[in-house]
């Protein structure tokens, strides 16, 4: 451990002396942003839209590279292990806080230098339109009266939506069966086809089917109501005290000199505020939730503790 901290200190020192001259000139070459999820997915599309705007302010090309695999572990690890010279940035996501409690990765958010939070989407409990219940309470009562009947689909075992559904069931003391799918989309499809009883995924992921009249949202697990569906009450309003979100943000590896970090943050903040990005986010029904580095760090700390506690009580954490 001592050797490791010594090594970290030395690299930081080296990076400091090396970059002194380079600081003013940053960026001198294209910048890479690592996306831990596949090209074309929600995280990827968001990152590409944001980086396209940030390029204008940074003055150099920003290349989005997808380093996928291991349920996000590989991409996060690549961000963490990148050279701390400001030429590698990364998008970190909720999984950074759910992988460590499962014992799947040897690092936590503390090994990163968070820059800003971009969005945070609450889970929503969604059922078929023709279901005999239309409130969260009604759903839970039905589940209690018919043990073993309720199946809730989620996007992957141990995923954010699995934890959200588990938390909601635990708070209301009902027994449900969690059915993990290979992503949120297949779970929603299975619900539309009537193969499962409910899904607990984000509003954006069910929006199309809800608007088409196939599904209905019983409640959202957030502090306030959703902008697109303001008629849907929150869980808390219905007497179930659950809030659960997924989130995405930007981070750099530890040791990037402060002036360079400031330049990156500045470019991305301007991109975030741009009209183009705001329009994009509205179309994609993303719940934008900006936080600066200090607030994001506090958020990460609290979120990590919450997630770990929930996963432990659900039996999803490594014993």
């Amino acid at each position: 451990m001592k050797m490791k901290s010594l090594f970290v200190g030395m690299t930081a020192l080296l990076a400091g002396t090396f970059s002194a001259a380079a600081l003013a000139a940053y960026p001198e070459k294209p910048v890479t942003v690592i996306c831990p999820w596949t090209a074309g997915g929600g995280t990827d599309v968001l990152l590409r839209a944001l980086s396209k705007e940030a390029e204008k302010h940074l003055g150099k090309t920003i290349n989005v590279v997808n380093q996928t695999g291991g349920a996000g572990a590989i991409g996060h690890n690549a961000i963490r292990a990148a050279r701390p010279d400001g030429y590698t940035i990364g998008m970190i996501t909720f999984e950074l806080n759910s992988l460590p409690p499962q014992g799947l990765v040897p690092f936590t958010w503390k090994d990163f230098d968070p820059l800003m939070r971009i969005n945070s989407d609450p889970a929503a409990l969604t059922v078929r339109k023709d279901a005999p219940y239309s409130t969260v309470r009604g759903f839970m009562d039905h589940a209690k009266a018919n043990p073993g009947e309720i199946t809730i689909g989620n996007s992957a075992p141990g995923s954010v939506w699995h934890i959200a559904a588990g938390l909601a069931a635990e708070k209301t003391g009902v027994q449900v069966k969690h059915v993990p799918f290979d992503g949120a989309q297949p779970a929603v499809t299975a619900l539309v086809g009537g193969h499962i009883k409910a899904v607990a995924v984000s509003v954006a992921e069910v929006r199309g089917q809800v608007q088409a009249g196939n599904l209905k949202i019983l409640g959202v697990m957030s502090g306030e109501r959703d902008k697109i569906f303001p008629d849907v009450p929150t869980f808390k309003e219905q007497g179930v005290d659950v809030e659960f979100y997924t989130w995405r943000g930007l981070a750099v590896p530890k040791g990037v000199p402060a002036p360079i970090k400031a330049k990156i943050s500045d470019a991305y903040k301007k991109a975030f505020d741009s009209k183009e990005f705001q329009e994009f986010a509205a179309k994609a029904s993303l719940n934008l939730a900006y936080q600066n580095a200090a607030d994001f760090t506090k958020f990460l700390d609290q979120n990590y503790k919450d997630v770990e506690a929930v996963m432990k009580s659900l039996g999803l954490a490594k014993k």
Partner: protein, 509 residues
């Protein structure tokens, strides 16, 4: 939903404008290039070009993406035929007959049949999509975990057909494939299996690098071994389209495979790779000369290529009418629609019926654009095979490595490719077929995850597996096709042995 003919004609008129036609051609050309390069798949091509469409009008953007989608599906067959490298996973079944044909000096014949079959399949897919979307999409929703499990089992019954000379060796390959497909996260509990603590192994052996290693790299090793004693291949490329006899000969298979392809494409989660293998198996089972399959039989090529291109039209059906993507590419397309402010699904039919018909029209025109651009390119593509093997072989090797790396910029994938290359080489030397491994890798996880999901839903009661008519139908089909193929396989083995004896006798005489 009534079919609106006047809107159909109006949409064709809109799409038939120089601007849109140009953009479709650009998409097709880009798609063919992307598809023919190993490691760059249709999914990736579409995903990477989606950001380019931000801020462009919907029709132009979607027409270009559809062009890439269709072009890449065909493009994959070019490298499959010429250098035994499936450009996309959907072209893996094309190798089985396409490559032996090219080795025999019939690269031109194979390429032109692949193009024609792709065109034929694409047109059938587009037609079914235009006229039968509402019917087909209702069927697609019936597919739940039990049906997917049954579909996977049906798909696995094709293994007998791609076993080559020996059923036992084919089974050994398939079981090996199923074993390695169990590496990685458990699909229900999320427990990492056989990963040895490596993050790269958590999602199992990466599919594209495995594919490139098994087929392309193993062939590179094979070529290296034969260096110096290898004759330069001759390729007669004197035509753009297959001969009338070839088309007539394959017509039955083209029609049948196109329907199978569209149907499998329309089931969410089952894509071109499965469609191609199932059609290939079907072609072989119904052929009078199953023993010739695997040695460059043109019907096999026609079946797999028409199926994987028909699949594109099929996959668009649930996307447009239900808002549910039919395969990996349409999942990315769904994102592109939303960025354009269009939400695919029943609402799209109500609010933007014009764009729906324009997509039908673009899909159809993309097939014709693909036919013409493909015809213009065939001579150029076929030149590849005339390149001196001493230059071509190392180039394929480098391309394979780059392709494996490009997928997710991970050096681990390059090692995987090399490892499977060596494995593939050894297996070829001892006459073990490689395709069953691939089929097992595609269908194994599908069978496992859906069986487990079904068990979660039924609380462990296995009777759920026989409770649904579609699933029962598929499983009966699986048994029938298994029995038929095993009987066929015995014939194949007997005839091959006969032919060998005759050959040996000839030599001794």
């Amino acid at each position: 939903m009534d079919f609106n003919w006047s809107l159909m004609f109006a949409s064709y008129a809109t799409v038939f404008s120089p601007g849109v036609l140009f953009i479709i051609c650009v998409g097709i050309t880009a798609g063919i290039v992307i598809g023919s390069l190993p490691g760059l798949t249709a999914t990736m091509g579409v995903a990477l070009l989606v950001p380019l469409t931000f801020g462009r009008p919907p029709l132009e953007s979607l027409a270009m993406l559809i062009g890439i989608y269709c072009g890449a599906m065909y493009g994959g067959s070019i490298s499959a035929i010429l250098i035994r490298t499936p450009g996309t996973p959907a072209a893996a079944a094309t190798i089985l007959e396409g490559y032996p044909m090219a080795r025999r000096g019939e690269a031109g014949r194979a390429l032109s049949m692949a193009l024609f079959a792709s065109f034929f399949g694409g047109v059938c897919g587009a037609l079914i999509m235009t006229f039968a979307s509402p019917i087909v999409s209702g069927f697609a929703l019936e597919f739940g975990p039990v049906e997917y499990f049954a579909l996977a089992i049906f798909g696995l019954s094709v293994i007998v057909s791609i076993s080559g000379r020996s059923l036992v060796k084919g089974m050994m390959s398939a079981v090996f494939g199923l074993l390695i497909s169990s590496i990685g996260f458990d699909p229900i509990s999320g427990f990492p299996r056989f990963t040895f603590g490596m993050m790269e192994m958590m999602e199992g052996p990466p599919f594209i690098p495995t594919l490139i290693g098994l087929f392309a790299v193993s062939e590179v090793f094979n070529e290296v071994q034969k260096t110096g004693q290898l004759q330069q291949l001759k390729a007669k490329v004197d035509r753009f389209l297959p001969t009338w006899e070839d088309i007539k000969h394959c017509f039955k298979h083209l029609c049948r495979s196109s329907v199978i392809g569209t149907f499998i494409g329309s089931i969410p989660g089952a894509g071109g790779d499965i469609a191609a293998f199932v059609s290939y198996g079907q072609a072989k089972r119904t052929s009078k000369h199953p023993e010739r399959f695997g040695h460059g039989q043109i019907e096999g090529l026609a079946a797999s290529e028409s199926a994987n291109n028909a699949c594109s039209g099929g996959a668009m059906i649930p996307l447009l009418s239900l808002g549910v993507p039919g395969d990996a590419v349409t999942a990315v397309l769904l994102g592109a629609f939303i960025i354009q402010g269009l939400q695919p699904g029943p609402m799209l039919y109500k609010e933007n019926i014009d764009i729906v018909y324009q997509i039908f029209a673009s899909m159809m025109l993309a097939q014709f654009a693909m036919l013409f651009i493909g015809m213009a390119g065939i001579r150029l593509f076929a030149k590849v095979i005339l390149v001196d093997r001493a230059i071509l072989t190392p180039t394929i090797f480098v391309l394979s490595m780059v392709g494996a790396f490009a997928m997710r910029s991970n050096i681990f994938d390059v090692y995987t490719t090399l490892a499977f290359g060596i494995l593939g080489y050894v297996m070829m030397r001892y006459d073990y077929p490689l395709s069953p491994i691939l089929l097992a890798l595609i269908l194994g996880p599908m069978a496992e995850a859906n069986l487990r999901r079904a068990m979660v839903i039924s609380s462990g009661d296995p009777s759920i597996l026989v409770s649904r008519p579609i699933a029962v139908g598929l499983m009966v089909l699986a048994v029938v096709s298994l029995l038929m193929s095993i009987r066929g396989q015995k014939q194949v083995e007997a005839r091959l042995a006969e032919m060998e004896q005759a050959f040996e006798k000839e030599i001794t005489d």
